[in-house]
Symmetry: C2
Subunit: 124 residues, 2 copies
Amino acid sequence: MIQLDFEKSGGLIPAIVQDAGTGRILMLAYMNPAAFEKTLQTKKATYYSRSRNALWTKGETSGHVQHVREIRVDCDQDTLVLQVEQTGKGACHKGYESCFYRAVQGEDLKIVDPQVFDPEKVYK
Amino acid sequence: MIQLDFEKSGGLIPAIVQDAGTGRILMLAYMNPAAFEKTLQTKKATYYSRSRNALWTKGETSGHVQHVREIRVDCDQDTLVLQVEQTGKGACHKGYESCFYRAVQGEDLKIVDPQVFDPEKVYK
């Protein structure tokens, strides 16, 4: 069995989600043991929603499922990297490919990526 | 001023560290407001060590400094991506380029990357 250190951060570990093809970092999400087990079993990325306090399979509303190609574990066993094939145009609920669509420029944040879908049509 | 949501996770936000050249994810670390400010000012990645409860400029022991090329902020303003130029052979205190040197294979973790430096010589 794979032992992960869920206790260090109060029961949830961060999972960095990276596009397996481009290497683009798409998002960061959190997993509890049940989310990790479900992801292993289904090969579809499943997280724990801190706002809804529930398991959440990415794409269940948007259709933008993440098929998991590889899972890496860090030296401290308290962080994951998921290499995924992102279906649909993007991972971000704001309509961008990546949640990291803004860059620090001087004292401000600037949007540096194009919006690729209309979130109001995808998240009804 | 750039507003980040430090409160959501109890004062620290996760920073994903990515090699600016290769796109490889090197590590995940945490920042408090002082670490973020110091990183902005010095352009050298500075984190907050949860085990030592202190600011920690990456490379202060190993010499493996991370020069920050770009900082991205996510949609919820509670996670960062640092694009860095990693000096030295690697970021991981275990002697690997990346902390994510192991992959889930079946029921086990398997080391899938080569060790690139001897940590006992680097971390004296």
